[in-house]
Amino acid sequence: MAATLISLTASVNGVLYELGVAGRDTLLDVLRERLALTGTKKGCDQGACGACTVLVDGRRVLSCLMLAAQCDGCEVTTIEGLGSEAQLHPLQSAFVRHDALQCGYCTPGQIMSAVALLDEGRAGSDDEIREFMSGNLCRCGAYPNIVAAIRDVAGR
C-alpha cells in the first residue's frame, strides 16, 4: 500500500528540491536517505542527543523531531552547506584547531548548534556557551575544547 505523498519544496544548502514525502518522514531521514546528505547524524532518533541538529530558516532544530512536511518553503542548512573542503567555515576550522572532536559523530550537530548559538548571541561567556550547547551530547567528552573553539570564533 503506497502512502499518500505530500509535495514539498524546500531549499537545502541553497539547492531547491521538490520532493514527495510521506507524512511520517522526518527531516533527518529525508536528508540522509533521499538527499544522501549523511553528514547529519542519527544518535537517538528521539530528540535527546543533538547529533541531528540542522538549521531551518536560520534556527537550530532537531531534524529527527521535525517532519519533512513541515519544511515546505523553508531554507534548510546542513553541515554540508557550511564550508567546503577548500574553505572550511570558521567554526569548522576552530573545531579542528582546538581538537573539539574525537570520534566525530556528534561533531556536525555540535557545529550547527554552535553556528546558531553565535547568531543567538549566546556566546558571551564560557558558562553561557556551556549552557546553550548542552543539548548536544558528546560521549567522547570534547566539551571543554568545544567551548574553546566557540569562544575563539566569538572573538572573546
Binding site: 553528514g39 547524524k41 557550511l82 570520534c103 566525530g104 549552557e131 560521549r139
Partner: protein, 731 residues
Amino acid sequence: MTALIGSGVDRVDGPAKVRGAAPYPTDVTYPQLAHAALVRSTIASGRVIAINDHDARATAGVLTVITHETAPTLTPAPFGLLGPAPPPPLQDDHIHHHGQYVAVVVAATAHEADVAARLVKVEYEGGDPPLLDFDDPRSALEATPWDTATQRGDVEAGLAEADVIHEATYTTADNTNNPLGLFATVAAWEGDIVTVHDATQWPAYTQATIAEVFGIEPAAVHVRSPYVGGAFGAGLFVWQHVILAVLAARAVGRPVKLVLTRPQMFTGVGHRPSSVQSIRMGARRDGELVAIEHVSTNSASIKHASIEPISGATARSYACANVATTDQQRRLNIPLPGSMRGPGHAQGNFALESAIDELAYALGLDPLELRLRNFAAVHPQSGLPWSSNALGECYTVGAERFGWSRRDPEPGSMREGHWKIGYGLAAISWSWWQVRCQARATITRDGRAHVCSAASDPGTGTRTVMRQVAGERLGLPLNDVRFELGDSEMPWAPASGGSSLTASLGNAVHAACEALVRRFLDVVADDDRSPLRGCSLDDVRVAEGRIHRRDDPSDGEHYTDILARHGLNELTVDAEATPPSQENAELARSGPFAAKFVEVRVDEDLGLIRVARITTAIDAGRILNEKTARSQIVGGTIGGIGQALLEETITDPGTGRITNATFGDYLIPVNADTPDIDVFFVGRPDPLTPLGAKGLGEIGLVGIAAAIANGVHHATGRRIRSIPITLDRLL
C-alpha cells in the same frame, strides 16, 4: 626538522569530520540495499514457544523473517580481548534476558522492516520469575572464570598487626557505554565473499569471528571500519546484530544494513556490570599499610561467560605486604556485559580509593600523605623495579597545581556562600598491556610514504599519532605521509582497547619504518653511485626525505634518488613488533599512573553536587601527540563524572526490562556538567619499548569517581559508598 613525535598536531581526520564527510557504518549504502530490524524478547527468562510471522511477512516490502526456527546452525566465535565472545544468535528457543533477539526482519526500506518487526507475534513460556537481584538466593555466586585473584603474604596476620582497621562495602551501578554513534553493520555478499562495514574497534577480530561463525575462510571476509562513532569498549566484541546482518544479507541475496536503535544499544552491545565490593584494610598508626583484602562481586549473564577484573589493580597499587583480591560474579537474567572504558578498574578503583580515604581519616592523616607513605617504589607483587613510574611526581605536581595545601582537613569546614566545598583525591595504577602488531610501510617514486595497519581509530587519534611516528621515523614531513587503518585486509592489528593500541601499533609502525629504511640500504649496498653504500641502519639517520650518514648530514641521498636510479616504483615492507617479555625481566612492565584532584561543591540546602575543577597529573610514558593525548584524558575525565554522579542503567525488578534506555532517561554529562579540567603530563619514556609510550585511553576515567566521592565527604562529612552519588543521597 622539528620533532613530529610529541607535538600537538591537529587531528588529521578533523577536516573530514567537521564537514560531515567521514563515512561511519551508518552512512554506508549500496544499490539494492535492504534493511533489517530486530525483534527483541519481552521476557527475561523462559522459552519461546511459538512465533507467528505471517502478518510480518505479508507486509509491503518484507523480504524475509529469520527466527530460531529458520536460522542455520552457527559456530560459536573465538575468544576476544576480554575472554569469551557473545553466543551466536537465534540458535535455540531459550530466553536469557529481556531484549534478547528472537527474530530479524529484512525489508526493502528501514521503515518497512520496522513496521514488520512490530507485527512478529512471539509467544513465551515464562516459568520462574527471572533472577535480577544480587540478593536473590536462587542466583548462583561463582568465581570469575580465568582466575583473576591475586595473593601475597597473609591478610589475617597483617590485620592482627594493624592499629587501625577499616572495613566497608562499596557498590557501583550498571553503566551503559552509549557511544553517540548507533552501532550499525552493513553486509554485502558477492559470491562467497562478504564485505562487512561495522563499528568495530578490532577489524581483524571481526573478520576472524565472522569466518568462524559462518564456517568460511577469513580471506572471504572483508571488514571495513575506517570511522567508528565512538565505542568505549562496545566495539571490542562481535555482537549478535553483526552476525544477523551478515546472515540476513546471505538470506535475501542483497546487501543489508542493520542499525541499532538507541534502546537496543542498552541491551545488545554490552555494558559495565554493577558491583558489590568488600574491603578490609589495616594500617599501623604511622600509616603503613599492613593488609588489604578486596572481594568484588559483579553481575553477570545467567548463561554466558564474561570477565570483569575489578579487584586486581588493588594488588599493585600500594606497598603492602599482605594482600588478597578476589573477583566473583552473580549470574542473573541480564544482557551480557561487555567492556566499558576502564572495565573492572573503574569499579575497583572507586572502592579502593574510597577506602584509602576513609582509612586516612581513621588515622588522622592527610589522604595525600597516606598515599605517599605507601607508595610502591617497586612492583609490589613481583618485587622488580618498575620500568617507569612517576606516580610520586603525579602526587606532588598534581597537588601543587591543584592547591591541595589549601585544604582544611576537617569535613564540612570549607564553604563559599551556600556551597560546601570539598577537595578529593584518588590515585590510579593502571595495568600494563601490549600485544603483537603488524604494519606495512611503503615509499613511492614521488617520495611519499604510505603506512597502514588493520587498526581502529574510534576517536582516539590513532590515525594522527601514527602519521607522526611514521613521519619522524622516515624523516618525512607530515604532509608526505599517509596512514590508513580500519580495513581487515591490512596487516594484522590488535584491538583499540585495553589502552594498548598506541604502544603496540606505535612499535609496529616504528619497526616497519626502520625495516623500510634498511630495505633502502639493502638496495644501495653495492651501489657505487650511492653515498650510502655499505651502510647499516646504525650508520645512518633520516631527515627531509633523505637517508644520510650519521656523522655527516650532507653525505646522503633522497629516497626518490634511490628509487629512480634503480628503476623502482616503490619499496614496501611488512613488519611486526612484539611486546617486551616478562621472562627473566629485570624490570616490571609498567602501565600508566595518575593522581586526580577534584573540587566538589555541594549546595547545603538542595544537595546539588557540582564538580568545580579537576586536576589530573598523569604518567603515560612518552606522549606522542600532546593535543590528542590531552583530549583522551579530558574525555575520560568527563566519563568519570558520569560514572560518579549520573549514570545508572535501571532494570525493572519484576520484568528485567531496562527502564531508562534512552538519552532522555539515562543521563550522561552534558557541556554544562563539565568543569575546568587541568591535565598535566609527567614522567619519561618507558625504556622497555622503542617508542616509550604507555596507554592513556582509559586512565582518564578511572579514579574520578573516588576523587569525587572523597570530595563529597570532605565537603559534607557524608561518606557515600555507592555510585552514582545522586542528590537524594545527600538530603
